[in-house]
Amino acid sequence: MTHEVTMPQLGMAQDTGLIVSWLKQPGDQVKSGDVLMEVETDKSTMELEAAHDGYLTEIRAQAGENVPVGTVIAIISDSAGSVAPAPAAMLEPDVPNSEDPVVAAPVDVAPALSRADPAPPPNAHPAPSHEKVLASPKAKLAAYRRGIDLQQLVRQGARQPIHFADLETAVATAAPPTAQSALIVQVDRQPMDTFVEWASGVAGKPIEPASVWLAFATRTFRNAVDSAPADGLVVEYAQYGSDDAPSFAVDADKVVLSSIRTLEQVDRVSDLKILDLSATRLSDYRPSGTDGAPALVVGAIGTDKYSINLHFQEDRLPLNVAIALLDDLAGHAAEPMKHLL
C-alpha cells in the first residue's frame, strides 16, 4: 500500500509552498511524525511530518521548487519496494482546489451581459457629434428617438442643460423651418476686379477678393441692420470650388483691406455668411435649412457679371432691411472706390 505526500495548505491565502530541503531521501525508512522536509510559505519555514509509517519510495519535487498546494510531492510505501528516481520537474496537481467550475460559473455571466448592448431604436437619429451638449437623460433620449440634433438647438440659442420641456419648445420653433426669401442683383465684374488689382498695388501685396467681399459685406450689414453689434460683428466666408474651410472675420470693416485677418473659428455665431461661387460657372445656391444667419451668395453670370443673392428669413431680417443691405452692397460693388470714403 502506498500513501501520497502532498504539499500542505498551511496558510489561509497560500497557493504554493517552496520546498526548502528534503530531510529524508528515497529509500529511507520513515515513521509517522518524522520530519520529511522543510517548506517555506508566507515567509516562514515549517516542517512537514510523515503521516504514515513506511518507506519514502519516491520524491516528485525537488528542493527549490515552488509547488502548488495539493500536489503530490512524494510517496510513502509500506514496503521498501522499488525506489523511483527523482524527476527533473514536478507534475501538475492531481486535485482541483477550491476554484471549482461550478462556483466560478456565475462570474462568467458578467462579460456576457456587458456585451449585450441594446439595439438602437429603428428611428433615424443624428450622427454622433463631437461637441458635448449638456442635457437631461430624458431630453437626450427623446431627442435620439425623434431624430432631433441637440447641437442644432444649442446653436439656435437653447440654454444648457437642456431639459425635456426645452426640447418641446425648441422643436416647436424650429419646425417647420421658416421659408427663406431671396433678393437678387446683378453687377458688372469689371469694377471689382479693377479695384482688387489697384488695392494690391497700393498695399504692395496681393489682396484677396475674399477680403474685399468681407469688408463690403460687414460695412453694409452694419449700415442696414440696427441690431448689428457695435463690436464683434462676425461674417463667415466660404469659397465654393476650393478646398478651404470656411473662415471668419470680425469687424472686417474697421481695418484697411490689407490688415483683414480671417480666423478658423470664433466663439460666437456668424451674423452673416458669404458663399462665394464666383470661381465657378454657377450663379446661385439656395440653402435648404437655416441656422438663422442670412446668406450672401456671390455667383457668376457669364464671364462679366456677378450675381449677388441674399437669402434670409423675413422674421429675422425684415424685407426692407434686406433690400437696403443688398442695394448698398450692389452700390459698393459697382463703385468700389466709394468704400474708401
Binding site: 500542505p8 495548505q9 516562514s44 515549517m46 503521516a51
Partner: protein, 326 residues
C-alpha cells in the same frame, strides 16, 4: 477511573465508539485539508472527545446544544452522520446545511444541534434563549452551551448567565478549558478563577477532568437531571487539551506551547486510549473488540468521505436561496 457503576456495557461501548468516531472524523478532515481537497480551514476537536461524548451521552435527542468553531465533536456526539458532515465540510449540496455553512456553521437541528458558531462566545445567547423557550413552552428539555476558555473573555456570556440565573433557566454552560485561546495560553487571558465568575451570579459551578469520559458523563447526568427539575442553570469547567493547533494550518506552534507538552497529553492523557484500557481491564470489552470498533468506524468514514468527494456542489441557483424564510 472508577468502577462501571450505573453504566451498562452497551452504554459504555457506545461512548467509546462515539469518541473514536470523532477522532476518525477529525483525522480525515485534517487529511482533506492538508491535501487541499477541502476549501477554507477547520478547527480540530481531537483530544477533547471525552467532553462532547460525556455530555451528549447524558442528553436526549430533544435536548439542545450550541457549538463552537471547534464543533465537529459536538456534532458527532449529538448524533450526526458522517456523510452529511463530510459533505458540509466539502461544500456539497448533501451537507447538513446544503454546503452553505461549512465547518464553522454546521448545524443539525433534527438532533438538537442549533449550530456551530464562528464568533467566540457567540452562541451563549442562543443557548440561553433555547432554555427560555423550553421553560416558556413547558418542555422539559435542557440546553448545553459549549464554549472554550477563550469565550470567558466575552461580555455576552456574563450577561446571559446573569439572566439565566435570575430566571432559573435549564441551561448548562460547558467551558472546555483546552488551555489555549487561539495562540495564547489562558493564563495570559483569564484573571482569577473561571468557576468563581459563574458563582458570582449564584450559579452552581463544577470542575471535572475533561479527559475522563466517565467522570464527565457522571457529572453531566446529575446536572441534566437537576436542570430538568428547575434547579439550573449550571456551569462546568472541563479541563482538556486540543492536539492540533488553533486550526489545521497552525503547524509551527512551539512559540506558544512545547512539543513535550503535546506529547505528554497524547501519551498519558488520551481519552480514547485510557478509556479503552479501562474497558479491557474491567472486562467490558476485549482488545480485539476495540480494534474491530476502530476499523469498522474507519471504514464507514472512508466510505462517507469518498461519497462526499464525489457528491454534487449546490446548483448556482442556491446562492440566492434561504436568505429569507417564507
Amino acid at each position: 477511573m472508577k468502577k462501571a457503576e450505573n453504566h451498562n456495557a452497551e452504554n459504555l461501548l457506545r461512548m467509546y465508539r462515539q469518541m473514536v468516531r470523532i477522532r476518525t472524523f477529525e483525522d480525515i478532515a485534517n487529511e482533506l485539508y492538508l491535501s487541499a481537497k477541502m476549501p477554507g480551514l477547520t478547527h480540530m476537536y481531537s483530544g477533547q472527545e471525552a467532553v462532547a461524548v460525556g455530555i451528549c451521552e447524558a442528553l436526549d435527542k430533544t435536548d439542545h446544544i450550541t457549538s463552537t468553531h471547534r464543533g465537529h465533536g459536538h456534532c458527532v456526539a449529538k448524533g450526526a452522520e458522517f456523510k452529511e458532515m463530510f459533505s458540509e465540510l466539502l461544500g456539497k449540496e448533501e451537507g447538513y446545511c446544503r454546503g452553505k455553512g461549512g465547518s464553522m456553521h454546521i448545524a443539525d437541528q433534527d438532533n438538537g444541534n442549533l449550530g456551530a458558531n464562528a464568533i467566540v462566545g457567540g452562541s451563549a445567547g442562543i443557548a440561553t434563549g433555547a432554555a427560555l423557550s423550553a421553560r416558556r413552552l413547558g418542555r422539559d428539555s435542557v440546553t448545553v452551551c459549549f464554549f472554550g476558555d477563550g469565550a470567558m473573555g466575552q461580555g455576552l456570556l456574563y450577561e446571559v448567565m446573569n439572566m439565566a440565573a435570575l430566571w432559573k433557566l435549564p441551561v448548562i454552560y460547558a467551558c472546555e478549558n483546552n488551555l489555549y485561546g487561539e495562540y495564547t495560553h489562558m493564563s495570559e487571558m483569564a484573571a482569577g478563577d473561571l468557576k468563581a465568575r459563574a458563582e458570582a451570579f449564584g450559579i452552581e459551578a463544577f470542575e471535572v477532568d475533561g479527559q475522563d469520559v466517565l467522570a464527565v458523563n457522571r457529572l453531566a447526568q446529575q446536572l441534566v437531571a437537576r436542570a430538568r427539575n428547575h434547579e439550573g442553570p449550571f456551569f462546568v469547567t472541563l479541563n482538556t487539551y486540543r492536539y492540533h493547533g488553533h486550526h489545521v494550518g497552525d503547524i509551527n506552534r512551539t512559540y506558544y506551547r512545547s512539543k513535550e507538552e503535546e506529547a505528554h497529553w497524547k501519551e498519558n492523557r488520551d481519552p480514547i486510549t485510557n478509556f479503552g484500557a479501562w474497558l479491557i481491564a474491567e472486562k467490558i470489552a476485549g482488545a480485539d473488540d476495540l480494534t474491530s470498533v476502530r476499523e469498522t468506524i474507519r471504514q464507514e468514514a472512508d466510505e462517507a468521505v469518498e461519497h462526499a468527494l464525489g457528491a454534487a456542489y449546490p446548483p448556482a441557483t442556491d446562492v440566492g436561496e434561504h436568505v429569507y424564510a417564507d
